[in-house]
Symmetry: C2
Subunit: 348 residues, 2 copies
DNA sequence: ATGAAAGCGCTAACAT
DNA sequence: ATGTTAGCGCTTTCAT
């Protein structure tokens, strides 16, 4: 114990407000919740008392009986630009509602379910989560108690809503684009799949990266070409290293299709450092994050409208909060944005 | 009301666990808090019951009596790479503690105090906030009730801890760097100051951007040059537009010192689009965000170690939680990272 | 339209 | 070492 700092006046409670306004606690509660059955006069009294006492309801106490007016977002990485777009869309959609957003990022070595649990423990009124590898059965259990919207899952549930981009169409466009430019030696670079392969994988639902990889394989095989897939961590530095190795290989690819823009930016840095350009090695990413548009980067990518994804997630959650119980599935279209990072190969 | 989905089994409470283990609620409480006075045998019983019932303590209920084991972070924008670095550092520092992090981003048109309040309402055990323009007197009131660490404030308080980079030294290095290269027509581009000027401004404390701007003015004036300061919004697109205008002006600057990297990246895009390079217009940013290191961007910037800032913030907060009451001030050194975006001007 | 009273799940005294 | 008890601040029946 350090020296006892005088604790300052205890923050006022609903009881204090009731006393100050000369009414009951229940009355104050009704006023702050805009509930039915308060006279104009009482509302004015109470509102004035609230101002005077600078009263703020404790969320914890509210959550124990009613709602917390909080929506929780679980996101795997704070620094990922694509996730940022989603959060921005959500923020916008939340602007004129009484709900506050809190974000639970994953801690080091943490999996998505930990952060989702932590939001549920906090009794948020609803959860939006991006957790492609969490067991759907487990998610359904969560969704029994807390309205849940999952982003980036191709499975379908009766309990929670799902939102995805059209990963199949997006990857198809990437492959067509590269083939049309004349590329044949195309390598696909993506993040490590879960190990061990979860038992529910390979069902109807597959994570976005897996879908993109599958399309890559299909298209390569259909064109009579040998697919080559390289797995890295998600942070781009491994993508950089893997690309260096590829560039030194005897049979250097003329194009690299990266599973997302974070990886693609890492790939581009290795290409640039080697003094090569798009005519030597074309690079295509996925997500169309803001930096892809930058003239110095100019990365060809697939736009699946992260902003819309976030906005829709909130909309669906608010619908559930308003009483909807049937589950909904929303798919955002994918559009290729061709830029200077992809070009016809110098040597066929 | 939609159709009533059967609500699933009510999640178990501490009471259920106590019954299952054949002990009292207090005993369970002690076990989950690792408190003093539990026998090995009881611990085993209780732990087993917890597993069996999949019991998870409700944070709201805990917060009403004891601690919520939650640390709240208020950050002005989710998409800002510098803030991301801070959060990453904090995540790392939190990894082996029982504390969970939640982030309260600002809603649209929201000010920092709203999000800080929302964290306080949630009864987090401590708050880290980045809110350069919030009234220090107000912050002290918050700090009376909730341990508080402010990042990016040059003021000093007896109530809360402050963490900053050495903005004066950083800006000095930028100006020296540009002068050494031979630049004379240097424009400073930064974010809009608060309007109206808050009454507490101009005291010992000033926000980082204001300090950087002040140093710019001092150095320009000392060199017998006319300072030119342009204000924009924080998101880079206005920086882009402002730069275009500058490039078209009869008296085009040979260097632009941007108040942070987000702005600098916007400036760079305008420079690149105009077909110009560092010999025409040099660009320097501040914060040394990851993209600055990218070979295609290669932005000269000032590294104030965002990771360290975040790590220190958590360390200071944990210290306060452990009983410290005297306030602490931490300053991170600033180091210029010269890259290809700055060079000797083609024409003196 | 308003108020009284019960209780949400937990922790912290205080017993024993 | 363990159990009993009294609330924390709020919302929600249920009276009036």
């Amino acid at each position: 114990m350090g020296p006892t700092a005088e604790p300052g006046p205890r923050p006022s409670t609903i009881q204090d407000v009731a006393r100050e306004a000369g009414v009951s606690r229940a009355a104050v509660s009704k006023v702050i919740r805009n509930a039915y059955g308060v006279s104009e006069h009482m509302r004015a009294q109470v509102t004035a008392a609230i101002e005077r006492l600078e009263y703020r309801p404790r969320v914890a106490a509210r959550a124990m009986r009613g709602a917390s007016f909080t929506l929780g977002f679980e996101i795997p990485q704070v620094g990922n630009d694509f996730l940022t777009m989603i959060v921005d869309g959500a923020t916008e959609a939340l602007a004129d509602t009484p709900y506050q957003m809190i974000i639970a990022p994953l801690g080091r070595d943490q999996k998505g379910d930990v952060a989702i649990n932590s939001l549920a423990d906090r009794q948020v009124d609803g959860i939006v989560a991006i957790a492609p590898r969490v067991d759907p059965a487990w998610l359904e259990r969560v969704a029994e108690r807390t309205p849940l919207v999952m982003i980036g899952r191709h499975d379908r549930s009766d309990r929670y809503d799902t939102i995805t981009g059209d990963d199949r169409a997006g990857a198809e466009q990437v492959m067509s684009h590269l083939f049309d430019l004349g590329h044949r030696r195309i390598v696909h670079l993506t993040i490590h799949p879960s190990r061990p392969e979860p038992p529910w994988a390979g069902q109807a639902g597959a994570e976005p990266h897996v879908v993109r990889t599958a399309v890559y394989r299909e298209r390569m095989t259909a064109a009579g070409l040998e697919p080559q897939v390289i797995h890295t961590m998600f942070d781009g530095s491994e993508a950089h290293a893997a690309t260096r190795a590829l560039l030194d290989s005897p049979d250097r690819p003329t194009a690299i299709f990266a599973g997302n823009d974070t990886l693609a930016v890492g790939v581009l840095s290795a290409v640039a450092e080697a003094g090569l350009d798009a005519r030597d090695v074309s690079v295509v990413g996925y997500d169309d994050v803001p930096i892809a548009r930058h003239p110095l980067v100019s990365l060809t990518s697939v736009d699946q409208s992260g902003i819309t994804l976030g906005r829709e997630a909130v909309r669906l959650l608010l619908e559930r909060l308003a009483g909807r119980t049937e589950s909904v599935r929303y798919e955002s279209p994918a559009v290729l944005r061709a830029r200077r990072s992809s070009a016809e190969p110098r040597q066929a």
